[in-house]
């Protein structure tokens, strides 16, 4: 009985340790992924649906228009 209790204490301690480590990591992990793309690089091509469910392909604009891509976080937030 005593050893059972001891074992469960160890398990609890290990769990607590893991959770603490996880919490610390989560705090450090305000990860910002900075793009490795830079001026002079070829823009990766893509096809995405627009807000009218129409496919937009970046390479369709090649030779025709300059393109500004504005990535935003979420709709209905402040950009």
């Amino acid at each position: 009985m005593r050893s059972m209790h001891f074992k469960s204490m160890i398990v609890a301690a290990v769990l607590a340790g893991c959770m603490a480590a996880g919490a610390i990591r989560a705090q450090e992990d305000v990860k910002v992924t900075h793009t490795s793309l830079k001026a002079g690089d070829v823009a990766p091509d893509f096809t995405l649906l627009d807000n009218q469910w129409k496919q937009i392909r970046l390479s369709d604009y090649r030779g025709k228009k300059n393109v500004v891509l504005a990535f935003y976080v979420l709709a209905f937030t402040e950009g």
């Binding site: 990860k31 793309l37 995405l48 300059n66 500004v68 891509l69 990535f71």
Partner: protein, 101 residues
Amino acid sequence: MAKLEASDAVVFGISIDSPAANNAFAQKIGVTFPLLSDMNRKVLKQYGILKMYNVQKEEYDWAQRTTFVIDKKGVIQSVEEEASAINPNNAVAVCTKLPKK
């Protein structure tokens, strides 16, 4: 916007929202340019701008606010990360300097 159109540029907004959400958003804020849905985060990964956001102790990977200007040859002319809401001034400045043809 008028300045960008005058400099022969098209503008696309991109986020992980669905087309339906983007359409409602477009109507609400009255944007005239298309809002693109990167629902599987494919383009965010291609462009390397996934950012972890911690909301009520859960993590979400959404876009880092970034503006790319791409010229007619498909070459990136400027990359600008934004701390808060997207500011078009730099994109306008870059586009205005690009050759018209």
